[in-house]
C-alpha cells in the first residue's frame, strides 16, 4: 500500500540554528541504515523528510530500521501522489479500503495540512470535500471529530501525501551531535544498555573490550562483536577496540592481595580506556555500572576506581535495578546475545571475597608493588580493532 515514509523530528526543532546540522545527521543515519535496500530515495519536501521506496514490500523492514534512528520521534507510512483533487480522492479511498480490511473501523476524521499555499483549496475546505467523498463511498463509516477510530492526514506540499498511521519511534538526538564517548563493553547485559542510552542523547559511540585470552575464548570476542553490531542499528558505525589484560591479572595475582584484584584490575581498565580515548579524541567514558550491583560497583569502590583517571565517566544505568536494565536490553534486542554462556573477563580472576569498601591509600599502596606504566604499555601493545 505505502510507498513512502514521512519522518518527524523531535527535540531537534528546539535547537534553533543547529537544526540544519541535526537534520543532516539524521538523513545521513537514514541513508547508512538503509544502505542494504535498493531504489531508496531520501529527500526533503518543504521542511519535511521523506523516504521513498519503489518496492512496497520492503516497507515493513524499512520501518523497523528507521524506528531505531535517534532524533526521529514519529514516522508515518504514506502514499505520495500528484496534487490533483481526483487522484487524491481515489488514493484516499484506496487507503481506507486497505485499513478497513485490517481493522474494524466505524469513525474517521480527515485533517489537511496545506504548506503549499498555491494549492487552490484551503485546508478546512479540502478536509470537508474529502470527508464527503469518503461518506459517500463507505456507507458504514461516520465522521467523529473528537475521537475517531482513524485519522486521514493529507499533506499538501510539492506533492500530496496521504497517511493515517503514526508510529512512535525511539526519540533522542541524532548520533554525533553531542560529542563522542568510549563504552567499556563487556559481554554482559548492562554495558550495551549503557551505550544505547548515551548514544540516544546524540553521542557517537566507540567501544572497548577487555579480554584475557587464552583464559577467555575467541568465541567471547565474537559475542562482543555481535553485541556491537546490534548496537550499530541505533548508534551507527561503532569502532570496537580490544585489549588483552592477562599480563595485568598475572602481575596482580603475583604481587597483591586476592581481595584487591577486582578494584586493581578496574583501575587498570580505566587508565587504558582513558589512554585510548585521549589518543582518539574521544570526550568521555561510559560504563554499565549500577550502584551496588557487584562489589566493584559500591560507592566506595567507584570512588577508588574513578580516582585513577581524570576523564569523566558516564554511568547511565547507575540508578536502575537489574530487572529494569534487563527490560531495556530486551527492548533493544541485546539481551539474548548478552546471556550466551561464554566466559567474560571477570569470571576467571574474580576473587572469592572481593573488597566492597576499598580505601584509596591501601589500593595505591598495593599498586606501588606493580609497574603500572609498564603494564599499561604492555596491554596497549595488544590493542586490536575488531
Amino acid at each position: 500500500m505505502y510507498n513512502l515514509l514521512a519522518v518527524s523530528f523531535g527535540e531537534i526543532f528546539l535547537k534553533g540554528k543547529n537544526r540544519n546540522t541535526f537534520e543532516k545527521k539524521v538523513i545521513e543515519q537514514i541513508r547508512s541504515s538503509l544502505r542494504g535496500f535498493s531504489d531508496i530515495v531520501v529527500y526533503k519536501d518543504q521542511g519535511k523528510v521523506f523516504i521513498e521506496t519503489k518496492n512496497e514490500y520492503d516497507m515493513d523492514e524499512i520501518i523497523n530500521k528507521v524506528k531505531k534512528i535517534f532524533g526521529i520521534v514519529l514516522i508515518s507510512p504514506s502514499i505520495k501522489v500528484e496534487k490533483d483533487v481526483e487522484i487524491i480522492k481515489n488514493k484516499t479511498k484506496e487507503l481506507i479500503k486497505y485499513l478497513c480490511s485490517k481493522q474494524n473501523i466505524k469513525t474517521f476524521k480527515v485533517e489537511t495540512h496545506r504548506s503549499d499555499k498555491t494549492f487552490p483549496i484551503k485546508s478546512m475546505d479540502f478536509s470537508a470535500i474529502m470527508g464527503e467523498e469518503i461518506l459517500n463511498e463507505f456507507e458504514n463509516l461516520r465522521v467523529d471529530v473528537h475521537n475517531p477510530d482513524i485519522y486521514v492526514y493529507i499533506d499538501i506540499k510539492n506533492s500530496a501525501y496521504i497517511s493515517s498511521e503514526k508510529i512512535k519511534t525511539v526519540g533522542g538526538l541524532p548520533v554525533g551531535t553531542s560529542g563522542s564517548a568510549l563504552l567499556l563493553l563487556s559481554g554482559g547485559i548492562d554495558s550495551p544498555v549503557a551505550g544505547y542510552m548515551i548514544a540516544k542523547r546524540g553521542v557517537q559511540i566507540e567501544a572497548l573490550y577487555f579480554h584475557t585470552y587464552p583464559f577467555t575464548s575467541e568465541r567471547a570476542n565474537e559475542k562482543v562483536k555481535h553485541l556491537a553490531e546490534l548496537l550499530e542499528e541505533y548508534c551507527g558505525k561503532i569502532k570496537l577496540y580490544s585489549v588483552n589484560i592477562l599480563e595485568i591479572h598475572k602481575a596482580i595475582k603475583e604481587n597483591c592481595r586476592e581481595d584487591e584484584t577486582t578494584i586493581l584490575a578496574r583501575r587498570f581498565m580505566m587508565r587504558i580506556a582513558e589512554r585510548i580515548a585521549k589518543d582518539n579524541n574521544i570526550d568521555m567514558l561510559i560504563t554499565g555500572e549500577s550502584l551496588g550491583q557487584v562489589a566493584s560497583q559500591t560507592m566506595k569502590s567507584m570512588i577508588v576506581i574513578e580516582n585513577s583517571i581524570d576523564m569523566p565517566i558516564l554511568k547511565p544505568v547507575v540508578g536502575l535495578d537489574k530487572t529494569e536494565i534487563m527490560e531495556i536490553a530486551r527492548n533493544i534486542g541485546t539481551y539474548e546475545t548478552s546471556i550466551l554462556p561464554y566466559d567474560d573477563c571477570c569470571s576467571v580472576f574474580a576473587p572469592k571475597h572481593p573488597l566492597i569498601k576499598p580505601k584509596l591509600h591501601v589500593i595505591e599502596n598495593a599498586e606501588s608493588n606493580l609497574d603500572v606504566d609498564g603494564l599499561i604499555e604492555k596491554a596497549l601493545s595488544t590493542l586490536e580493532i575488531l
Binding site: Y213, P214, F215, T216, S217, E218, H249, K250, K253, V348
Partner: protein, 388 residues
C-alpha cells in the same frame, strides 16, 4: 602448523573419500528412486557402499541402513523399537529400560524423556568407566524391554565387554533387545555382528574420515523397528527421504580404507595413546590419566586430568600453538554444566575441571609427540602459576 588431536569430535575427510564424493556430484548425481539409467547407476553405487560398511562389522548387506548421522541412528534404534509399545499402548511403569550413566546425549536424553512413562534404570560405572556386570544382572527382569549401552565411551575411551553383556541380558530375558552405540568404536575396534549378537548398532561416517551428515544403523535380520518420521520407501522406510548419495558413497569409501589397513592403523593408534600417556606422566606432576593405556580401552582416546587448571584454558593455550584438543566431549562441551561422565567415574573435583581429551586419527604420527607434550607441559605450568 596444525596438529589435530580432536578426532573423537570429528576427523579430516580423507583425500580418496573427497574424490569419490566429487565424482558422485559430477557424474552420478541421479536420484536412486528414478526409473531411468541414472537412477540405477547411483543405486548400484549405494549398494556397493552398503557392502563396504557391512564389511567393517561383518554384517549382512541388508542389515545396514544409512541415516543422517550417529544421533539419528541412535534415535531410530531406540525410539523405533519402543514406539511399538507406545502404539499398542501396552506400556507403563511396570516396564523398564536400562542404560548407563555415561551414555552420549543422543542416547541419554532419549531415556531422560521416557522417565515419566517408563521405569528407566541407569547403571553406575566404576572408576575406569565400566559397568558392573553383576549390577546389570540384578536389574534385568521379565519386564525389561531394552538395554542400550555404548561400546566405547567418547570421553574416556572405556570399552564395555559386549559379549558378556549380551550373554547376561539374553540369559535373563530372551525378549530384551540390545542397542549398542558404537559410534566411537566403529572402525577402531573389531566388531563382528555374527558373534556379538546385538539387535541394533549405530555408527557415524565423520568419525572415521568420511563426510559429515551420514551415519549407519545395523538392524539384525528379522528384527522390526519403526521409522521415527515418515515419507517414501528409501532405506526400506526406516529412514525415508532422498538418499545423501555422495555422502553415502564417501562413507563407503572411508570404510573400504578402514578394512584395507585395519590392523596397522589400530596398532598405530594404540602406540600413540601409550606414548602420549607415558610421556605426559613422566613430564608433568599432579596428573591423572583417565584412560587405560593398553588394550582395555579404545586405541584413539586419551583422557587426562591436570590438577588445578581449567581444561578450556588449556585448550586455548594449545590452539595458539596449533594444537587442537578438546575438553570433555566436543558435542556437549559448549554447554556449561558439571561433567556427568567424569563425575560418574568418581574423579575428584579439582581434577574434573582440568580434564582434556586427546584423540588420534589417521593423520597423526609419533613425530608430533615431543612437540605436543612439551607444549602441554609449558602451558600447564603457566596456567598453574596464574591460577595458584
Amino acid at each position: 602448523m596444525e596438529i589435530y588431536l580432536d578426532n573423537s569430535a570429528t576427523t579430516k575427510t580423507r583425500a580418496e573419500v573427497m574424490e569419490s564424493i566429487i565424482d558422485i556430484y559430477e557424474n552420478n548425481y541421479g536420484n536412486p528412486s528414478s526409473l531411468h539409467r541414472m537412477g540405477m547407476e547411483i543405486e548400484k553405487k549405494i549398494d556397493w557402499a552398503r557392502k563396504s560398511v557391512a564389511k567393517v562389522i561383518n554384517a549382512r548387506t541388508e542389515e545396514i541402513y544409512f541415516t543422517g548421522g550417529g544421533t539419528e541412528s541412535n534415535n531410530i534404534a531406540i525410539l523405533g523399537y519402543l514406539s511399538n509399545f507406545f502404539i499398542s499402548k501396552c506400556v507403563d511403569k511396570t516396564f523398564n529400560v536400562i542404560t548407563t550413566k555415561i551414555e552420549h546425549p543422543s542416547v541419554y536424553n532419549i531415556f531422560k524423556q521416557f522417565e515419566s512413562v517408563l521405569d528407566v534404570r541407569y547403571l553406575d560405572v566404576d572408576s575406569s568407566g565400566k559397568i558392573e556386570i553383576s549390577e546389570l544382572e540384578n536389574r534385568i527382569d521379565e519386564n525389561t524391554l531394552l538395554v542400550s549401552i555404548m561400546q566405547v565411551n567418547n570421553e574416556l575411551g572405556t570399552v564395555q565387554d559386549l559379549d558378556k553383556i549380551i550373554e547376561i541380558v539374553k540369559s535373563k530375558n530372551r525378549r530384551t533387545k540390545i542397542h549398542v552405540d558404537a559410534i566411537q568404536a566403529f572402525g577402531k575396534m573389531k566388531v563382528d555382528t555374527k558373534k556379538t549378537l546385538v539387535d541394533t548398532m549405530s555408527f557415524s561416517s565423520h568419525k572415521v574420515h568420511g563426510p559429515k551428515g551420514v551415519g549407519g544403523l545395523y538392524v539384525r535380520s528379522g528384527y522390526k523397528i519403526n521409522p521415527i518420521y515418515f515419507g517414501a520407501s528409501q532405506e526400506k522406510g526406516i529412514r525415508p527421504g532422498t538418499e545423501n548419495t555422495a555422502g553415502i558413497v564417501g562413507f563407503g569409501k572411508a570404510c573400504e580404507l578402514i578394512c584395507d589397513n585395519f590392523q596397522a592403523e589400530t596398532e598405530k593408534l594404540y602406540n600413540l595413546k601409550k606414548q602420549y600417556g607415558m610421556r605426559l606422566i613422566q613430564k608433568i606432576d599432579d596428573i591423572k590419566i583417565n584412560s587405560d593405556l593398553g588394550r582395555n580401552s579404545a586405541p584413539h582416546i586419551l583422557s587426562i586430568s591436570f590438577k588445578n587448571i581449567r581444561g578450556e584454558v588449556l585448550v586455548h593455550y594449545l590452539e595458539r600453538k596449533g594444537i587442537y584438543v578438546s575438553t570433555g566431549s566436543a558435542c556437549s562441551s559448549k554447554v556449561k554444566s558439571d561433567n556427568r561422565i567424569l563425575k560418574s567415574i568418581g574423579l575428584n573435583k579439582e581434577y574434573v575441571d582440568g580434564t582434556i581429551r586427546i584423540s588420534f586419527g589417521h593423520y597423526n604420527s609419533v613425530d608430533e609427540i615431543e612437540y605436543v607434550v612439551n607444549t602441554i607441559k609449558q602451558s600447564v605450568n603457566e596456567i598453574r602459576m596464574i591460577m595458584k
